[in-house]
Subunit: 116 residues, 2 copies
């Protein structure tokens, strides 16, 4: 029951593509993540994928278009839509997914989401 300062949370780690859970919302993990470079192409068959850029800029590549997001911009990738986030410089994001969603779309390759 404390305020959650997203920049302070982001200051607690340095690794890329390793989302950290900062809050719970109705069975969803609210997370912050640092990203740099290209993630893998993936989709989530059962859930939309929520992105808010807090710092920096990312491309969300989809098979038929690319959406560029700057700080203060958000986007929801609809469930089932293949996508690949790409950051040419380090960027900081808030993301939301239902608890237990594999970040890569595949439990075999997904990272563990620690709580900070």
């Amino acid at each position: 029951m404390e305020p959650i300062n997203l920049a302070e949370k982001l200051g607690q780690f340095s690794e890329h593509w390793s989302p950290k859970i900062v809050a719970d919302y109705n069975g969803n993990d609210v997370m912050v993540v640092k990203v740099l470079g290209e993630f893998n192409w993936h989709s989530h068959p059962d859930t939309d994928d929520f992105f808010l850029v807090l710092d920096g800029e990312i491309d969300i590549e989809m098979r038929d278009r690319t959406v560029t997001l700057m700080a203060g911009e958000m986007f929801v990738v609809p469930k089932g839509v293949e996508h690949r986030p790409v950051a040419r410089k380090e960027a900081h994001l808030m993301i939301i997914e239902p608890c237990g969603t594999p970040n890569t779309g595949d439990a075999a390759t997904a990272v563990t989401k620690d709580r900070i």
Copy 2:
């Protein structure tokens, strides 16, 4: 399938306590809202209540404590917990609630959430 710029969305209206839907996420409304002054005491028996301050500062008063949120800070009021948001100066928020949730906790007094 366009990026959603939260500041640009907030520039489209001026009224307070009137959330505007900017995106859908798994049956939730992602909204921006301008707030000033005291809202009513209320709770949502069936849902948590997600707040992220984009600009300014708010207090979220609960019966046993008050949480002060600055820009870049978020908080989730657990379902069933009575709360009252208060903003001494105008503040801008992103909020998330399941589609159809009355903002006042009561369908009789809730505002209609327009999509922008």
